[in-house]
């Protein structure tokens, strides 16, 4: 591990191997999810980042190795008990027709409810807070399936928040959304980690957004973790080449601190095209 987390990690994967049928997708992965931080899994398609997230979320059972939550094998624990500590939002969830936002968010209370024992006041408070935090209070009585993609995703996040778990795993929560909507969602998620001490693990596709928002990046290729650490340490041209086979320059956003990668177009680098362009403008 490149850096030692301040508090011991509660969710860890040890020598994880997993896959679908005969195809092995994860090949001996060790990962400790840093407490109170926003960690992003990055990697090309088929690198196993979603599979790793699903295995950590107990959706997939590993063929070898184990996932520990608070020191116990997550696949042996009562699933409802796990759900009070760990919330997950799978990729592209779909709500049934006619379900209202309030009903969807209310489903987040499921692990806290029993047939014979329900704390209505506690549930109502958690739902209200979750909707307010995700900014969907005004949509409460609308049907989820009638909302825009960004609004819908905020509703799903509100559902996970109503679950009131310390750990939250999200699989590509920003895919297919407008850039502005992606930025708003990531702002929301990073506040969860930094202001509320939640531990977040995300799969993201966009390299620059990942570098801008992640406290830690985990870069994967071919079912293994290639490197992990702070964006400062691992978001380098060398690593992008190794992990994504991408020729790119990594520069610093002149108005902030974020690192930005600029893909180099094959055949001609940016330095080669820029003067020609300038020359044409001058004429």
């Amino acid at each position: 591990m490149p850096s030692i987390p301040a508090t011991p990690p509660r969710l860890t994967g040890e020598a994880l191997c997993a896959g679908y049928d005969a195809r092995r997708v994860l090949d001996g992965v060790d990962l400790a999810v840093a407490e109170g931080k926003l960690t992003v899994l990055l990697g090309p398609n088929g690198s196993g980042k979603s599979t790793l997230l699903k295995t950590l979320a107990r959706t997939l059972t590993p063929s070898a190795g184990r996932v520990c939550l608070d020191g116990q094998d997550i696949h042996r624990r009562n699933t409802r008990e796990v759900a009070r500590r760990l919330g997950i939002l799978p990729q592209g969830p779909s709500a049934p027709e006619g379900l209202t936002v309030r009903q969807l968010v209310g489903m987040g209370r499921f692990p806290h409810q029993r047939l014979w024992r329900q704390d209505a006041a506690q549930d109502a408070r958690a739902i209200r807070e979750a909707m307010a935090y995700a900014d969907v209070t005004d949509l409460a009585d609308r049907d989820v399936d009638a909302l825009s993609g960004g609004q819908r995703q905020r509703c799903w996040i509100a559902m996970v928040l109503a679950q009131e778990t310390d750990l939250i795993l999200l699989d590509e929560p920003t895919t297919f959304l407008d850039l502005k909507v992606q930025v708003d969602l990531l702002d929301l998620l990073s506040r969860l980690a930094h202001e509320h001490g939640r531990t977040l693990l995300l799969v993201l596709h966009d390299l620059n957004l990942a570098a801008a928002y992640a406290d830690r990046l985990v870069m994967m290729r071919d079912g293994r973790i290639v490197t992990s650490g702070t964006p400062e340490a691992v978001f380098t041209a060398d690593n992008l080449k190794r992990v994504f086979d991408l020729d790119a320059h990594v520069i610093r956003d002149p108005h902030g601190q974020a690192l930005v990668c600029v893909p180099a177009r094959s055949g001609r680098g940016p330095s080669a095209t820029a003067p020609a362009h300038d020359a044409r403008v001058a004429i």
Binding site: A57, P93, G106, R109, L115, Q118, A124
Partner: protein, 349 residues
């Protein structure tokens, strides 16, 4: 406390009024059902004024009217209600689990298995041997064929789409064998088999009611304990698991309830399973979301459908007593198409 609490969080005025509305609707449906049962008791080849029906029910006596009301009509009416409710709940469960509005007890082989067993029973023993064993054999057929569908569809768990594909395939095969058996058996047995396949409550007796009742009493409370799990699974397996639902276990419990309900209903009344398709749809248009509300509403509507289908069969073409299945499909199918058409107009308009 209600079971649907997780779908309908407390502390909201709109939700409270919605809940009151749904309760009122359930009460209304219950009253309509009771009134319909009363109406049905007065009608038949020997029309009986309501006063006489009450008198026959209230006081023990040996008269023709008492016999007609207590031993012919009442068990038949009660069985119609139980069968309709069972099929509707079975259908609501399957539509929820498979997440497909076209699912019905047919698709996982319940009806075809029961039909094959019943027809085989008739072909083997003719109409001579005690006909009381027919429901037993039909129920066994339903359970065995569903078990077979499950075993064939099992692949480290059950995925709904695979279950439906295997169910439809196996149903087609069993349907072929059923037809073959009817063709080669003698005319009398073939006629009984045919009426059974259409679905009929003809000559229902109290012992049929007693055979049907335990299945409902066992399955419906069990379904209600799983209502919230069902609502969570409607969000998809992965979300449900994330919320702490043991998806495989819940699905198996619900499936078992569905098979028990539909299997028993088909065993005692034959091929009426179309009720299992339409009743949940009608119910879903009347009540809000949430399985704990849908189930009772569907049960009441299913009961009403079978009750009126049987009433029509009894009195519309006197002196002929027609199988209820004709009216369930004959009236139900156009109504179903109309419902779908109307929803499309409403959602597009």
């Amino acid at each position: 406390m209600t079971h649907s609490a997780s779908l309908n969080p407390p502390g909201d005025g709109a939700v409270e009024s919605r809940r009151a509305r749904d309760l009122g609707l359930a009460a209304l449906l219950g009253l309509v059902l009771l009134a319909s049962m009363g109406l049905s008791l007065t009608l038949g080849s020997f029309p009986t004024p309501f006063g006489e029906v009450l008198h026959a029910l209230a006081t023990p006596q040996d008269s023709d009217i008492a016999f007609i009301v207590r031993e012919l009509r009442l068990p038949r009416i009660v069985l119609a209600v139980l069968v309709g409710a069972a099929l509707a709940v079975a259908g609501a469960i399957l539509q929820g689990i498979v997440r497909n509005p076209l699912a019905s007890p047919d698709v996982i082989g319940i009806t075809s298995g029961a039909a094959l067993a019943a027809v085989a029973f008739l072909a083997l023993f003719g109409t001579g041997l005690s006909i009381h064993w027919l429901p037993v054999s039909a129920l066994l057929g339903a359970l065995l064929s569903t078990l077979l569908v499950f075993l064939l569809a099992w692949q480290r768990g059950i995925t709904p789409s695979r279950l439906v594909l295997v169910g439809i395939g196996l149903s087609a095969a069993m349907g072929a064998v059923t037809t073959l058996l009817i063709v080669i058996s003698d005319d009398a047995a073939a006629m009984v088999a045919y009426v059974w396949l259409t679905g009929s409550l003809y000559a229902a007796q109290w012992q049929d009611v007693l055979g049907m009742l335990p299945w409902l009493l066992a399955a419906i409370p069990l379904c209600l304990t799983q209502a919230r799990h069902m609502d969570a699974m409607a969000l998809g397996d992965h979300v449900a698991q994330g919320l702490g639902v043991n998806v495989l276990r819940s699905r198996l419990v619900l499936m078992a309830c569905s098979v028990a309900l539909a299997g028993a209903a088909v065993a005692f009344a034959g091929g009426l399973s179309f009720v299992g398709l339409i009743a949940p749809h009608i119910a879903a248009r009347l009540v809000g979301r949430g399985f704990a509300r849908l189930m009772p509403a569907a049960a009441l509507i299913g009961a009403l459908i079978v009750l009126y289908a049987d009433l029509l069969g009894r009195v519309a073409f006197l002196p002929k007593d027609l199988p209820a299945g004709i009216f369930v499909s004959g009236v139900g199918a156009p109504f179903f198409v109309y419902l779908l058409y109307r929803t499309r107009v409403v959602t597009r308009g």
